[in-house]
Symmetry: D2
């Protein structure tokens, strides 16, 4: 993670409190019962997210930097460590839902305890010490923002697993437009492109190892693939014709009897989808969402196109700088239809994470940090695919054109979508 120039303490405090508060705002509409379950192993209980992000600050900042600090509860390190082997043993991931205690209200007290001491620490710490602490402090905030996005996707899964399909929040009053935007393929010239984060702000270690790649000419779609386009694939027998699919993808389709994106249900002969605002009719102009890499790739094959690589995606943003996207601040919490009036390449930022045909591997000069921070990214660099651009659940100040998200190719519960490249 890159170095940062030291902002004033007051600014740090404000950002800290704002981001921490945001986590609680996300969980406010939930029942305590919603915060403890784990319907699939990928989903963590919201209560766990809230405690885990606090444990991060407690363990990596309060304990080493605030001498008087007393840990809130001796067993919370065991309960709320996620995957840091360096930081001791822990509840195994698939058992997170068996932990009913501490209850939500005690987790909230834990958050407040950590917040108060973080505020005290930042106010009391000499400025030169603040500078030393800054990288891990910044990582803690970025980490909390990542969990905010996971909270939203996990809440969606938890509510969507309930047969009653309860809404999380109503659609925001100010309604979005939905209109058709014709697909176009926009030129990106070949040549050498510089890949990776070169700025002076924060970035993750997996964006470093800045290096050049040589690309051939290619074309990128001007927007995300829509529900209407995807429905045409479905209606053309897309889920039953093996020729479009990677072999492991088709095996998954058969085993799980997939016929449509996650959250799609047919009612009275019409496709609906569960959204965080309840069940809605599928809007043909909106981007297709909650599909696996396998489905994205099969759709691309069916349409005679292909997915971009992560390098092509990053190069495209150098040619077509991303516009303001539909991020979590819009409170839509679902992707929106593209804008027919807009020019250039839309939706590179926000709406949906875009599957690329690039494995999540280290950049040439990548190296892991020593200590627990070294476990943040590097050890996951196998069997996962890179996604780019952020989604409607991502905080807008959390994204970069160099940001590399990653999931296994079978995962569907994230806000994932498709952008095509024209085959040459």
């Amino acid at each position: 993670m890159s170095l940062l120039t030291a902002p004033a303490t007051q600014e740090l405090l404000e950002r800290f409190n704002q981001i921490r508060q945001r986590t609680e705002t996300i969980c406010a509409p939930l029942e305590p019962e919603d915060t403890v379950v784990q319907p699939i192993v990928d989903v963590s209980p919201p209560k766990w997210h809230m405690a885990h992000t606090s444990w991060f600050f407690e363990t990596l900042i309060l304990q080493p930097y605030l001498p008087s600090y007393k840990i809130f509860h001796p067993q919370f390190a065991y309960l709320f460590n996620s995957y840091y082997n360096s930081l001791g043993s822990r509840v195994l991931r698939h058992q997170r839902s068996t932990i009913t205690r501490p209850p939500l209200r005690e987790v909230l007290a834990y958050r407040q305890h950590v917040n108060e001491h973080m505020n005290r620490l930042l106010q009391e710490l000499p400025e030169e010490k603040v500078a030393e602490l800054l990288p891990i402090f910044e990582l803690g905030l970025q980490h909390e923002q990542q969990h905010q996005e996971l909270l939203i996707t996990d809440i969606k899964y938890i509510l969507g697993t309930n047969p009653t399909l309860p809404a999380y929040l109503p659609r925001p009053a100010q309604q979005r437009q939905s209109a058709a935007t014709p697909a176009q393929f926009m030129e990106v010239p070949g040549g050498k492109y510089k890949i990776g984060y070169q700025g002076s702000g924060f970035c993750f270690d997996n964006e470093l190892g800045v290096h050049e790649v040589y690309l051939e000419d290619f074309e990128t779609m001007n927007r995300l693939v829509t529900n209407g386009e995807y429905l045409a694939f479905m209606q053309d027998g897309g889920y039953t014709d093996f020729r479009h699919w990677l072999d492991e993808g088709f095996a998954m389709v058969k085993e799980q009897q997939l016929q449509a994106p996650l959250y799609w249900v047919q009612q009275d002969g019409e496709w609906h989808r569960f959204t965080l605002h309840g069940l809605e009719k599928v809007d043909l102009n909106e981007p297709v969402c909650h599909i696996s890499f396998y489905e994205a790739d099969a759709f691309a094959n069916w349409s005679g196109k292909r997915l971009l690589t992560e390098f092509e995606w990053e190069a495209a943003t150098q040619v077509y700088p991303p516009q303001k996207g539909n991020f979590v601040e819009s409170e839509q919490l679902e992707p929106l239809a593209a804008n027919p009036q807009a020019e250039g390449v839309q939706q590179l930022f926000g709406d949906l994470w875009e599957w690329t045909y690039s494995a999540y591997h280290p950049y040439p000069g990548f190296s892991k940090a020593p200590g627990p921070v070294g476990e943040y990214n590097g050890k996951f660099m196998i069997n996962q695919m890179v996604l780019r651009g952020g989604s409607c659940a991502t905080p807008s100040n959390h994204i970069r054109t160099t940001y590399r998200n990653f999931f296994h190719p079978d995962k569907r519960w994230q806000y994932t979508g498709i952008r095509l490249a024209a085959k040459k």
Copy 2:
């Protein structure tokens, strides 16, 4: 289920309200978060128990007998049916924990709604109609009592799965005695014994098909096997010597690496056990508890004895009528040491369900009732073993000497214990 003479309506109402209230009392000490989880498939979420027992009254009594009745929620039948194929499709057992909605408070409202309408029904129904309704009404109460016992065992498992091992309630103030009672083997003469329920009160259909069995002379232990005796088995390598074990039992021991009863943990070199009152040191005079049939049988083999059959157990109660036992009303919620002063055969009732070496099969004249009630017992008559006598979690007015409880031989989360018979 046998016929009943009609008690006065007022009496019925009182029993109904008392038993229904008792379920809520059991759940009162829980956090909402405790009521939604299912750490193993055998355990149901307490919230589910509370709703399921209400669904039973709603579906089998209110809907058919109260014409004006409107069901509380159209999806609750799907959510809270347990295993009645006759009553439609349902949430699969192992998915009960993914249902966070309705939350606890709505389930409590559901209970109140059902209670109010049950009260109205009983008050308004003509007396001859009450008689017609009586068998299913009585079954509903017995059913709720069975779930009360399951609630206690499931709550114990849920709390015991939390690494913080929270207590459910403190030990009741009035303390129990613990002293050693020497083991004795008491004669039961051979001959023909009549098996099954012959009274005029309520019984389950699996107690009917009254029939005679011929038994040889045998001897029964005068009390339950103690923790001290079981510890001797453990210390003698009981869990590692295949010769004591049924083959499938030893396979389970190796696969799950069993070394002690469920809930036993070693701390600072001493055995403790998780109880509903928190972690306690193992008391050597108390009955050993939470063991599988396999462990009970292995212990019996190790000690040169054997388990009783269910017929021997029932015959023993004809020779040594059970004394007042340690049932749920004592609020101990754990088995107590036998009484050194008592004569005859102790602990036949209460403390712990006693594993017998009898498969849970139909009695000779057994027949299933038509309709959903026919699914109550008969379809489970395979691969399970009979347990007798009730436990510290059983309501005292719920037990009979002819009562047949049944679990698979590997189950350990119930209040199960061991009584030996002398080998001939």
Copy 3:
């Protein structure tokens, strides 16, 4: 296992050689490739059966009794021990099919080696020593006969798993009759019956613990249930109506999508079944075969009857002594239709093992022998159901009215069938 009066050495030798030869005769029609596979865990490779039965004689007789004996191969004990913990570690059951070496021809050489030394031993051993050795010698022969039956059922499964459905042997020239025999229910009077082996010949330890049981009057079907009767059950939706089934049985039906007995396939709209003589049209008069206990019980429920208990079955043979049955010597290797001319109760012996509604549990006075022989039967006395009467794959001199066979209730690859009792 009971004591035996000593037969002359020459007689012993002849029986030994005859039984041993029979095993090789059974395997003669196989390809070497057939002898190494294990399509399901229940089935053992024929090569393994041949070696295992030899290992039994080598380990329990030659090693202790023939001082000069040198074991054939130091690793065979590891390779060919079945389940005797007392006799050291072994290849796990489910890995038997990964053992390609020794090849068949070396196993045959092993058999010959053991046979030669057994012959030498019996000829050289002083008569008083022969008497000492007799029980384990007899057990070895009975054991080999049990494996001969398993060989036939396992060969059937192995060949039937090949998509080419190769025949094992042609139907014997002399053809069987097939005609309808009307079902009758024959009276067996209630009262006390003596159960268990009381003779002076060989029996297994699980037949001992002779004891009395008291039975009510009942009626037994005069023959086995036919394919025609079972087909009526199938055509009446037997496999889809949960009301006939034990809960675990119906779960198996749904999971495995069962629709007919094992080996039944529909071709051109007609039911055929794979037999050891190849694919044949289902004969409606022949007994239905290769059904699980669950199917037997569901059929009984559907027909308003029930299965016998093992005690009722044994009592029935005291009232209706079994006639000469269709055993392995007939070389039919499939069950035959009952005889319309015959009186009384037919097919008690031979044709098919009959599922009883009795768990395989110890008789009252049962005790395990010390040493490895104690592992023969006792440790399997859980979760299995008793079958009685032998089958078309059983040697005729291997059966007794007190013989208790046992399998888990879901097993279908044995020659299993149904006899009904009339419900009272």
Copy 4:
């Protein structure tokens, strides 16, 4: 797959017969019993390999091109199709070992039948038709060579699973040298490199989509990592220190309790390994073999180095053209120690396939052929890692510097090894 200039028919025939004969030579030392088993799902029965490669010629050449051709057996297409959905249904991969028929000798007859008809076809076909047929004919030969390598690795696994650890063949008489070659890191200058097959001979479709990549300067090890170097990693606790491992790799290590490469066993305190010549002491100078990608990567991390990417590997061969390698023709069937006298970069060809840190993905311009040949490579382009350079089990005329082999990162039964790049 690329076009070929037409060789004379006689030459084609000779190559065909030679390659086909080679498959039978590989299987000659086996027992029939060895040819039918499948100890893990990755391994196919040798009998299946022999039939499958014949089915390929029968289905894709004889049936379409030889009008008079009669298929050998109507069910062989079902039995011996591997994964071609376009060519109908088939035995599922994990059930290949349940197919005992046809036995080996009938498979050999099938091979001969196909060979005779292929010879007739080539002799009779007009020259212009031969040209049309050439691509699929060439693919059939290459396909058979790939299965020859799989045969050797599968035979090794099958024999190595036998507790008796039988040798396949003795070590060839002419003994290999073993001496230490110091590790050196050799410069490869950065810049643009052309990747993919540009020749006029045969190549697979996955080598096409020739394109340029831009590489930074790097250094490659001059030989493969040795057993001695790997042993140092093991002795330094390599298998227990999570810091060296990818998370999924460390999970595999813990679950399978890995402590050493596949086939390593400790005897009398010394490491031995099972080879195709039987159990041998580990030679510290020989390359470490049979390790997964996870182990290769962990070793690289431990040594402060990294693996090459597939592009770096191919670039290295442009700088250091590979020397004659230890291929299958040496009959060593195991990797050999590097040559201390040799200069430059050794072992790029032969000895062991080298894991690269590159996912097996399509090259930029990759496109699948229409029809069944399109299923050859493309549908596997997910979750697998590229290996380069061929092994001691590869035919020497089957390898190219552009050849891309691929396996899942957990696989260990192939001849896989490690080459390091110096970290920058």
